[in-house]
């Protein structure tokens, strides 16, 4: 029962964003049943975008059944309620409705996109998918076979081999060490009960984050949210995950696979999103290996030496661990050279930090480029959900520039030492000339 629905809306918190997106205002709204959501009203394109996340991703899988959460996500549009798989897919496409479901290590992410005229139908299909997934045997076995074929292909895929081994070695015995898509062995074991169990434990209203961008007012948005999520249990039922730090630092592991180009994954401990040094670390990592054409690694590995098409380094953070993780792919006879350059640049950054000029340039980039991450409804909705997950506050977009400006060269140097002074775990898939595994074996 919904009592006095309209009266239950919390006062909206209006955030104007003068420097980033002048037209954008984020309202914090509360649905009649008490689900909080962030809303951006956007009238110029006739569509609605909804983005949401539940706490509890692939790290909820049992070790022997890894891939179950991912499998569940792939089955949610394969029939729900009275609608079998065929009918469900027809209903979606007849109205050009897009439902997306994705599983990360910590979260289950969903997205919905629909034309305004099909908004109600879209919300109804989402509600059915989340609350009454059918998991019919035909669909389960068909999708399982699809996932197994991808896992079989991965056996000789150097990117997958290098990455999988990196996580396994960095987090042995911990859920973060397992691939979200599982393995051939574990995926063969997952049963319908495991899928139902995952859905039951994770799809709940507490820890649900919701963002909406579209031509809707707060009352309508609240009603839509309740129709989509109001029928879910009040509270999730998650297994606790322990905190972890990556191990295997100083080790290099070579995985033999016959490819012309060796794929390299490298990294070590990162920094928690809530850590006071996070922004300094984020800036320093951008200078070393961030995604523009001016990072140190890009210049040294690609531009000066032509050793690779791409090389980059990123901060990756979860609730219970954080890593700094990089990758490249180089010809087999020069892999050792590329790795030496990467190690040398990482060490140089740890010892000396960035220059004042680099720091200023990186700050300028990171401030200016933020607007580019907020120029479509989908990007805005996804960004707002991530800000909610990271617990940064509804005014984060407004505060972000001053957080960047506040980082001093000393902060940057300290962060560089902390990030890159620990040595790295390196995995290489291919046949790199003159490179063998080193360090302790398992």
């Amino acid at each position: 029962m919904i009592r006095r629905a309209c009266m239950l809306f919390a006062a909206a918190v209006l955030i104007a964003l003068p420097n980033v997106a002048s037209a954008m205002t984020i309202e914090k709204i509360m649905s009649p049943s008490g689900i909080e959501a962030w809303l951006v009203r956007e009238k110029s394109v006739p569509l609605i975008t909804l983005n949401y996340a539940f706490h509890g991703g692939a790290s909820q899988d049992d070790a022997g059944k890894s891939g179950a959460a991912h499998f569940t996500a792939d089955l949610l549009d394969e029939g729900a309620g009275e609608l079998d798989s065929k009918t469900f897919h027809e209903r979606l496409e007849n109205h050009a409705i897009e439902l997306g479901f994705q599983v990360g290590r910590d979260t289950f992410h969903g997205s919905l996109r629909a034309l305004n005229e099909h908004r109600d139908e879209a919300i109804d299909l989402l509600r059915l998918a989340l609350t009454k997934p059918r998991f019919d045997a035909e669909a389960v076995e068909r999708v399982r076979e699809q996932e197994l074929s991808v896992l079989r292909r991965d056996i000789t895929n150097p990117n997958d081999l290098a990455s999988r081994r990196w996580w396994q070695t960095a987090f042995p015995g911990h859920p973060y060490g397992r691939e979200t898509k599982g393995t051939l062995e574990t995926m063969a074991r997952v049963t319908v009960n495991d899928l139902r169990d995952y859905a039951r434990r994770v799809f709940a209203r507490n820890e649900l984050k919701v963002s909406i961008v579209g031509d809707v007012d707060e009352k309508t948005a609240g009603e839509l949210i309740d129709r989509a999520f109001g029928g879910l249990p009040a509270k999730n039922d998650l297994k606790p995950i322990s905190d972890a730090t990556p191990s295997g630092l100083g080790r290099r592991i070579v995985i033999d696979v016959d490819v012309p180009q060796a794929v390299v994954t490298f990294g070590g401990p990162g920094i928690a999103r809530s850590d006071p040094q996070f922004m300094a670390a984020y800036i320093v990592n951008h200078i070393l290996g961030g995604g523009s054409f001016s990072s140190r690694l890009y210049k040294e590995v690609r531009e000066k030496r032509g050793l690779a098409y791409g090389v980059s380094n990123s901060l990756v953070w979860f609730r219970h661990a954080a890593v700094v993780l990089g990758g490249t792919a180089t010809r087999a006879d020069r892999t050792a050279d590329a790795l030496a350059v990467i190690e040398q640049e990482t060490k140089r950054m740890a010892e000396n930090g960035p220059t004042a000029e680099e720091l200023a340039a990186a700050k300028s980039f990171l401030k200016g480029s933020y607007a580019l991450t907020l120029d479509t409804s989908g990007k805005i909705a996804a960004q707002l959900t991530q800000i909610q997950i990271d617990n940064l506050g509804i005014d984060y977009i407004q505060r972000r520039s001053s957080l960047i400006d506040a980082v001093t060269i000393d902060d940057a140097k300290k962060a560089a030492r902390r990030l890159y002074g620990n040595g790295m775990l390196v995995t290489v898939a291919g046949r790199p000339k003159g490179l063998a595994s080193n360090g302790t074996t398992e």
Binding site: S22, E93, N94, D333, G368
Partner: protein
């Protein structure tokens, strides 16, 4: 400057879509402006009407190599300066090459549009290259080839199918190039190609974002507009395909294949070479045949017969010359590629014999027309859509009226297109299988 005033303005809007403006400068440069005022950012793209299909025989990969070398500086702006400025203002940049076009873009805060325009105009004719930047970059493209193709058996298969499909037309060469030719590409090759094709009268500037079209036009006239027209940009007349007469197939065995794949490509008209409405009919046909869970191929092979783990079809309208219609399938374990192929043929034959249902037709149109609305949510998508269409023979009005033409496609036309174009002798079928012969380790 007065002489360079725009000579044409054909602003006209599709219902509910953005007000797209189109101008042609006195020096032949075309300008398209797509307003999007939701965020204070702009996407600035330049599209040159030159691609891999315009390379001299023996120089495969050159168009793409030049695209990389365009970041190596000019007399006015030494290597790295443009990228440094883009990074400092918080911009994104990149470039891409296809058979028919080469594009460069920056995404920046709106007030920085002029800055990037000045750099981009400068490198239209001011590129300077020396071997100390050219040679490392040649290694970069060789690594790119490894990453995209060498390490990827399915990409290797596609390359072989293209080479077999086009008997005479240069679309048979990979855009990235053949390695033995890429290894020989030189500074002089790149500069020669650049001087032949990079000119205002061979380029289209597409600007999408928070801008005023008239102000943009002034800006473009003051930057690109000052570059003189190139007297002799070669027209793009490529060797034509003879009528295809033989059913072709090929097999690629690779030791890394854990999942066999069947891929077929048919030689079909592009938007430019098609009769009016024919290209849109092929889009509808490819969607009904093989796009998504409701498609004929997916329903028959993956769901009903349980023979495949994937099955899909695609069509590319954006090509200056004859284009491709593709079908892909991956068998379930225990099913052979031959069994899968027979099942695919049966699905195609059924459309040829019985046509498509009204429900399928309506669903597909709804989906395709919605895609055009969804594209409006992303200024970069809009810019790419216009750029790719305009460099492959379409006009701004063709793009604007695309949804009307999709709406007009009939079931009879879809059946007719399947009958006319999905003939086996128009196609090459490629089988990707596991190479089980003992591998000799190549160590030098």
């Amino acid at each position: 400057m007065a002489a360079l005033l725009a000579v044409a303005s054909r602003a006209q809007s599709a219902p509910n879509g953005p007000q797209v403006s189109d101008f042609i400068l006195g020096n032949g440069l075309e300008l398209v402006v797509i307003p999007d005022h939701r965020a204070p950012v702009v996407t600035h793209m330049i599209w040159y009407k030159v691609g891999a299909a315009d390379e001299t025989p023996g120089k495969s990969g050159l168009a793409h190599f030049l695209e990389h070398l365009m970041f190596k500086g000019t007399a006015k702006n030494p290597a790295g300066k443009f990228s440094q400025v883009v990074a400092r203002i918080g911009g994104q940049e990149n470039a891409f090459t296809s058979q028919d076009y080469t594009g460069y873009f920056q995404r920046v805060p709106s007030e920085q549009l002029r800055t990037v325009m000045e750099f981009e105009a400068d490198r239209m004719t001011g590129l300077q290259l020396t071997d100390d930047v050219v040679l490392p970059e040649r290694n970069v493209i060789l690594e790119e080839q490894n990453q995209r193709v060498g390490n990827n058996p399915r990409a290797r298969l596609s390359e072989q199918i293209d080479a077999a499909l086009y008997l005479n037309h240069p679309y048979g060469k990979p855009v990235i190039g053949w390695r033995h030719e890429m290894e020989q590409l030189s500074r002089d090759d790149a500069i020669g190609f650049y001087r032949r094709f990079y000119a205002p009268n061979n380029a289209i500037v597409v600007i999408a974002g928070d801008v005023d079209p008239l102000k943009v036009r002034m800006m473009v006239e003051e930057t690109y507009g000052k570059i003189p027209r190139h007297g002799t940009v070669a027209s793009r007349v490529r060797p034509e395909e003879p009528p295809p007469v033989a059913v072709r197939s090929l097999t690629l065995a690779d030791p890394r294949v854990e999942m066999p794949t069947l891929q077929r490509e048919y030689l079909v008209p592009s938007f430019r070479t098609a009769k009016r409405g024919e290209s849109e009919t092929l889009e509808v046909l490819s969607h009904i045949l093989g796009s998504g869970s409701n498609s004929r191929l997916y329903r028959a092979l993956v769901v009903d017969k349980q023979m495949a783990v994937m099955a899909s079809a695609w069509y590319d309208a954006n090509a200056l010359d004859l284009s491709k219609f593709g079908v892909v399938g991956g068998p379930r374990s225990g099913v052979t590629l031959q069994q899968l192929e027979s099942a695919i043929d049966a699905v195609i034959t059924q459309i040829i014999d019985k046509g498509v249902t009204l429900e399928e037709l309506e669903r597909t149109k709804t989906r395709l027309i919605a895609d055009a609305v969804y594209a409006q949510d992303n200024q970069a998508t809009m810019a790419r859509w216009y750029g790719a269409a305009l460099t492959t023979g379409a006009t701004v009005n063709d793009v604007k009226s695309w949804t009307d033409r999709i709406r007009a496609v009939t079931g009879e036309q879809v059946q007719g297109a399947a009958k006319q174009w999905l003939e086996k002798q128009r196609s090459v079928t490629g089988y990707l299988i596991k190479d089980k012969s003992p591998q000799v380790e190549k160590r030098s």
